[in-house]
Amino acid sequence: MAVLVDKNTYVVVQGITGREGSFHTKAMLDYGTKVVAGVTPGKGGQSVHGIPVYDSIYEAVSKHQEINTSIIFVPSSYAPDAVYEAIDAGIDIIVLITEHIPVHDSMKFIRYAKLRGVCIIGPNCPGIISPGESKVGIMPGHVFSKGTIGIVSRSGTLTYEVAYAITKMRLGQSTAVGIGGDPITGMSMIDMLELFREDDETKAVVLIGEIGGDMEERAAEYIRRSGYEKPVVAFVAGRTAPPGKRMGHAGAIISMGTGDAESKVRVFEASGVKVASTPTEVAKLLKEILKG
């Protein structure tokens, strides 16, 4: 088992004819992901790496009724339209890779998705991978290996760094999810903790947070209050980040006195979550916890 994506995941790629869309369609196919259709308005009838392209997601879904997941590579000004289209076409899980979407837009389509019971991962995220089963994202597949650790992260390459350390420790991952680096994301750390709780394969969870907002604090509170049964290890990036400066991600900013790394670390520790001081230490802590 895994969460969100597995062998039964059938993917439509929105924006498949673009440079990124096409490149990652190939990479996903190589990994073994069941990509069955692509969509680019106006490019229906073409094919990309052998995958048929349709003008609309409705057409794709009616021709390939097994589709349950979409991955979006559409540029930021068109991405909201692509998301609404996917929600209305009945897609269950939407992975939104696109960066730089205005927050007023993402705030709206995320609320709409919630009302319709659709799960959005992102925006501004690397996607989801359940090693050995399916990769719906842009991560390098080889740093991941099948195993028992669930990863939730607000970051991209830092997720690969931690996953690689876990792989080298021979623990592997059940599912790794990059929930995105924007101020407002579809899935939160708490949403992911809930999914991992129900997943038998997952023995421990890693939370990779960073400065900005209070998602880590809320996750810590949730872990403490719900008596979360599985061990959780955290890493928080940005201990040296100055206040008021955006550190690459739209969401990575200490503003109005909240969102600094030290307070996130403190709240995690107060909730019984072990916090690693380096990415490699995450894997070491997991090894110790799972041995004992």
């Binding site: 390098p140 970051s155 760094e161 490699t280």
Partner: protein, 382 residues
Amino acid sequence: MKLYEYEAKQLFSLYNISVPEFELARTPEEAREITQKLGGKSVLKAQVLVAGRGKLGGIKFAESPQEAYELAKKLLGMEIKGEKVNSLLVSEVVNIERELYLSIVIDRSVGAISILASSEGGIDIEELAARSPEKLIKVYVDPLIGLKPYHIRRITEFMNLSDEQKKALQDITLNLYRVFVDFDCELAEINPLAVDKEGKLVPVDAKVIIDDNALFRRKEFAERVYVELNELEIEAKKHGFSYVELDGDIGIIGNGAGLTMATMDLVKLYGGRPANFLDIGGGARADVVEKAASLLLKHPKVKVLLVNILGGITRCDEVAKGLVNALTNYGKDKKLVVRLIGTNEEEGKKILSNAGISAFDSMEDAAKNAVELAKVVRVWPC
């Protein structure tokens, strides 16, 4: 992107929020002239983007046009928290009886818009929230539904105002919400929202922050974004990477925001001081890497450059090529420490070793090495 007070007030005026009469002065002569027009008295407010200018002498009251001239002479050109004052908002003086607070923000925690109001304004709102949260009301607005009369009623009823003032606050709230939505704001704030001696509601200060990602549909501000940045930040933005200046001596380059931040943190953890944050993003080619590395190698503060790359869509050979080129041009007296793994790692390492550079596999080891080298370089008499 932060707007200057005068830009925010212009927006407010456009949306029928009446602000005290003002004009912008760029010279002492203009300040004198405007003060004359305003009837002989004025308040001069330094137009800067940093907060807290009042306490740092950035706001002055003039009793006569000549005094306005003298004050403007001192204010123009002064620095507030490192920001130079290039213009003054010269405005009529408001006789303040009472101060209120009103703001609209994107609330990250709930993923909605929230309106904050208080019958105590003019002060630091975070401080008030911590000290007496009962004096603050927060009303969430679902962006799919928008601002409704009941939202506004909750705010006006909370504030202890006359019926006429309630009506005025209702209009201001509605219009501020329109500004907030139309201009993709992260924040629209009136602090203080004054009640003057005649009982009228007057926005004395105005603060607006626009979402950088929405500037493509707000072209009138798109070019202005560079004003907030220093030279290096501008150059970085033009090349498509994120750059933040810090105060240490170890330059940091990484691919991905989280990884780059984690690299900075490691440098600090091992006793070093990061000079900057520079994220080259995903899939950077040799020329972009060269630009990034050159920028830091040229930087007088940077003694050691630490590059941490975990290649996914970024290819190690492209990174290596860019680094070698930058080093040939600008690396005479600087040390370079590289951590390079991932896509095309072997080719990348080969390019580096041909140029006499060995790369680390672990980011922890690379960071430790950079810190050691910075110590050595620091004591070198040059």
